[in-house]
Amino acid sequence: MVATGLRSVLWFVCTFLLCVSINVAHATSITLTGPSGTVSEGYFQLEYQLESVNSEGSSVNTIVFERAASESFDVVEDRYPPLGSFSQVTLSGFSNGTYYFRARDTQSGETSNIVSVTVQHYPLSRALTLFGLGALIFIALVVFILHAHSRSSDQSVSKGSV
């Protein structure tokens, strides 16, 4: 009875450890990292890293980044293959919102951890204020140069001044 109990405990412990080790290997063999804070410009970089302990079956060229609207990844909305042997992609043009990304090995089907990226663009009022300020300074500069050039051309002997 004691032996049976010990066997059960051992079986349970071994199974548990095996499960944990499989889960750890599965979860950490491809690690995805993304931008640390909120993205204000709509572009950002994602990077994956392969763990050496489990990288034999994963060719660098078979990794693809995937995007979904929810953390559960029920529907993959877009895929982004990296260029050549690079492990990063730079993505751009995203509107305000939260996006979920993962890296997937297209050969083994193995997937990475999920990274969420929140895009929150700068307020339009701030952008338009800077635009207006820039336009004002630019117009002042152009008017000054054209005015000064025409005056200096007229008074080239005296090297005219404004």
Partner: protein, 476 residues
């Protein structure tokens, strides 16, 4: 969808670099044989005609900015990035009247530093030299990095090999030929650039069309088509002031204004600017095609050559490679020549050896070119930033010089104190904004603060400058 392959074999990439490298160096050597004095070497005898002048103005401005950074900014900021970048042509166009004025005021001038020293005195000169050196090194590093990135994006060759190759070639032919070789190679490189860019644009439109690109951007990357993209709107005038600051202060452009024949400078810069205007539109457009083609670069500055090579195949990749390589070389050589002139004339001749003969200056100039090449190579080894971020860092510096230079050329009233303070405060606050807000406001705030200080100084601290003080004699 699997990973995108490289368009060129790395050996083919290296072979192109070697062939063009030998061509440019031999060309520089042949042209350099007619340089008899430091003035010949630094300013091509002050006798450059209209065709060469317009070509060098356009070709020098087509650089990593237009071939790598314009697509990068289009990939990041969409249509505003593309159109906004083409407005950098305004720098060349507005420099046209300034160049005529420079030629008139400084008949014996050598560098932009000469003007600041004579017009504003030592304090403004100190601030200006720091700005010039930071900018020149930033641009040199970005060009060296661009060489490495180009080879890596197209052929997968190690970044350090491409970067070292382009630096070695440009240092060699600038060393042999001086500004004469730089302007002559610019002329050939300008022809290659125009033909190549037009070929790429036509082939992309024939092979790909616009509708699929528009469809993909609308669904997957909508902000790139948004006219009210906030960061892109902020970027627009920042880029214009960055371009103006680069051209108005840099000895690359002053040395050209002083090297061109007297009546040529105005027309040459105007035509150079008009020719340059459509180039970023073309190079930027190809970046918009990236998502539809399934090309997602590791860093945004690789997008231009990657897309072009992907669409056009191996033959197209060779064209792209030659065009971008020519563009990089035409800027790198100009910058090496102009910066070495600045160091030789403004630092060595005016502060270390005031009695240096023309022959001595000739020798020092060449040593400075070598030293600059070596320093650039060392600083390029760690690839610390993307090209756009690196270039825009220098925007905070150069935009602060716009108002002091423009007013200094036309008005007697602006004092040296005002100019020094305007450049110092403009740069400092521009840098603070670069780090606190983003790179797309650095040049704008720098120019705004500098302009405000210059205007206040103009009103409260006026002087009566004598223009004849600018007419300094050339070294014997």
């Amino acid at each position: 969808m699997t990973a995108t392959e490289y368009a060129l074999n790395s050996n083919v990439g290296l072979a192109i670099v070697a062939i063009f490298g030998v061509l440019w160096v031999v060309f520089g050597y042949v042209l350099g044989r007619s340089n008899k004095s430091h003035e010949d070497f630094a300013l091509a005898g002050r006798n450059v005609g209209f065709a060469f002048a317009a070509a060098t103005a356009m070709a020098t401005w087509v650089t990593s900015n237009t071939t790598l950074v314009a697509p990068q900014l289009t990939y990041q900021f969409g249509i505003w990035g593309m159109i906004g970048y083409s407005f950098a042509a305004l720098g060349l166009i507005l420099f046209a009247p300034l160049s005529a004025r420079i030629r008139e005021l400084l008949p014996n001038g050598y560098t932009s530093g000469d003007f600041i020293r004579l017009r504003y005195g030592k304090w403004a000169w100190h601030v200006f030299i720091v700005i010039s050196i930071v900018y020149a090194m930033g641009w040199l590093i970005s060009l060296g990095m661009a060489g490495g990135i180009l080879l890596q994006a197209l052929s997968g060759l190690d970044y350090h090999i491409g970067m070292s190759a382009i630096l070695l070639i440009c240092v060699a032919y600038t060393l042999f030929g001086g500004l004469r070789a730089v302007i002559a190679t610019d002329f050939i490189q300008a022809l290659i650039i125009i033909i190549g860019v037009v070929a790429v644009a036509v082939l992309i439109l024939i092979n790909n069309g616009i509708e699929p690109v528009h469809q993909e951007l609308t669904t997957g990357h909508p902000e790139l088509l948004n006219w009210l993209f906030p960061a892109a709107i902020m970027f627009l005038f920042n880029n214009i002031f960055f371009g103006l600051g680069e051209i108005f202060h840099s000895n690359v452009w002053w040395s050209r204004a002083l090297a061109f024949k007297k009546k040529v400078a105005f027309k040459a810069f105007l035509l150079g600017g008009v020719l340059w205007l459509p180039i970023p539109i073309v190079t930027g457009f190809i970046a918009l095609a990236a998502p539809q083609l399934g090309i997602f670069p590791s860093s945004a500055d690789m997008v231009g050559p990657s897309v072009a090579a992907h669409v056009l195949g191996t033959a197209g990749a060779v064209i792209v490679f030659i065009v971008v390589f020519s563009a990089l070389a035409s800027s790198l050589d100009s910058l090496l020549a102009a910066t070495s002139d600045l160091v030789t004339r403004d630092i060595y001749n005016k502060h270390i050896d005031k009695g240096a003969t023309d022959k001595k200056l000739f020798k020092v100039n060449r040593l400075v070119i070598l030293g600059l090449g070596l320093l650039t190579w060392l600083l390029c080894l760690p690839k610390v930033a993307t090209l756009g971020a690196l270039l825009n860092f220098t925007g905070a510096f150069v935009a602060s010089t716009i108002w002091p230079i423009v007013l200094g050329l036309y008005s007697k009233k602006v004092s040296g104190r005002t100019a020094a303070l305007a450049m110092f405060l403009g740069t400092s606050i521009g840098l603070a904004c670069y780090f606190m807000i983003g790179f797309y406001v650095a040049a704008l705030t720098s120019c705004a603060i500098s302009g405000l200080v210059t205007w206040i100084g103009y009103k409260l601290d006026p002087v009566e400058f004598n223009w004849e003080q600018l007419n300094e004699e050339a070294p014997k």
